[in-house]
């Protein structure tokens, strides 16, 4: 077992103790205004908790909207979820294994193109994502014009423009989130297709791992990461899926090793 996972479980069990109707992750590149959105929604001045064993800080807070209590988790700012660093691993683990009811991705309207990489990575893991395009005041100042309906149509998830520092758009963000989580608004996120030979390999790996993942994690995404050779993910999945028993642990480990070899 690695300490990271013990940390994940601790944070998650703490989350579950709170009376909350939904847990929502806040992801995004560094410095896009995640904490400003977090503070604007929760009315907090960021209550932070240390991630055990890592120098990473997670903030957690609640707000109430239409009689539902929403718990927001402010994730570390990252450019990627491919676990190139401890921060990226924490963000990925939370989105993947923390079972948030939805993930808000906060992006910088002044350099949208670069920010979209993370958005695509998130919707590859979970269909329940909302895009918060923040800093629209800055974008306007720089003469940047964004076609929001088109962006929404292209990505297939709700897109909400905000200027979080001035609390602009936060009401719309709450409403959009409410619709996704409690009114089960159907989303059809853009699905990224890779080259044919990759798709063939993905399909084959997916067939092998699906019985093992038991619908708990998106098998297409896991298959893609196995093709990447991401070993940190294999460890996390084993921790998550195989529970605590050393027997299932061993077995799970062998199954995934078999998948690795196949690859």
């Amino acid at each position: 077992m690695n300490c990271q996972h013990v940390g994940t479980l601790k944070v998650l069990s703490k989350l579950n103790q709170d009376k909350s109707d939904a847990v929502i992750a806040l992801a995004g590149n560094p410095n896009t205004g995640k904490s400003t959105v977090f503070n604007g929604l929760t009315g907090l001045k960021q209550h932070t908790g240390n991630w055990p064993g890592k120098t990473v800080v997670l903030a957690k807070g609640n707000y109430r909207y239409r009689n539902k209590i929403i718990t927001l988790v402010d994730l570390p700012g990252t450019y990627s979820l491919l676990a190139n660093s401890a921060d990226e691993q924490v963000a990925r683990d939370f989105i993947c294994f923390g079972n948030p009811e939805a993930t808000i991705v906060v992006v910088d309207a002044t350099c949208l193109e670069r920010n979209l990489n993370l958005v695509l990575q998130v919707i590859e893991i979970t269909p329940r994502a909302i895009l918060c395009v923040n800093l629209i005041d800055e974008a306007k100042r720089k003469g940047i014009v964004i076609d929001f309906p088109k962006l929404e149509a292209l990505l297939g998830i709700p897109v909400v423009p905000t200027a979080a520092r001035d609390k602009v758009g936060l009401a719309a963000l709450k409403e959009s989130l409410h619709q996704v989580v409690f009114e089960h608004k159907q989303l059809q996120p853009l699905s990224i297709r890779y080259q044919e030979r990759i798709e063939v390999a993905v399909a084959t790996i997916q067939r092998e791992i699906e019985p093992f993942l038991r619908g708990k994690i998106n098998s297409r995404w896991v298959a893609l990461r196995l093709l990447d050779g991401d070993t940190t993910l294999i460890t996390e999945i084993l921790n998550y899926i195989s529970g605590t028993g050393p027997d299932s642990w061993e077995q799970g480990s062998n199954e995934l090793k078999a998948v690795k070899c196949y690859e």
Binding site: Y79, S80, L82, N84, T110, C111, L112, E113, R114, N117, L118
Partner: protein, 80 residues
């Protein structure tokens, strides 16, 4: 046209180019791809730091700083 491929290190300040290849492996490669530096991206050399290294480049609307040990592994096609 009339230009050949060069390394990103050789791209003069102020000039734009198209990325041809990101010729490294592992974490550094992932990191650069995640910052939007992928084949066919536009990249512009913006300015040098006082010592000449690293150099600031504009990629996909954002500025990133690269050391020469990274930029010399990236090949680009300079544009006019």
């Amino acid at each position: 046209m009339g230009y050949a491929e060069i390394t990103l290190t050789a791209l003069p300040i102020g000039q734009q180019a198209r990325v041809v290849n990101v010729g490294m492996q592992g974490l550094t490669r992932n990191r650069l791809l995640d910052l939007g530096l992928v084949p066919s991206s536009l990249v512009k050399a913006v300015r040098k730091s006082p010592g000449g290294d690293p150099v600031a480049y504009k990629v996909r609307g954002a500025i990133i700083a690269l050391r020469s040990e990274e930029s010399r592994l990236i090949t680009v096609w300079p544009l006019d």
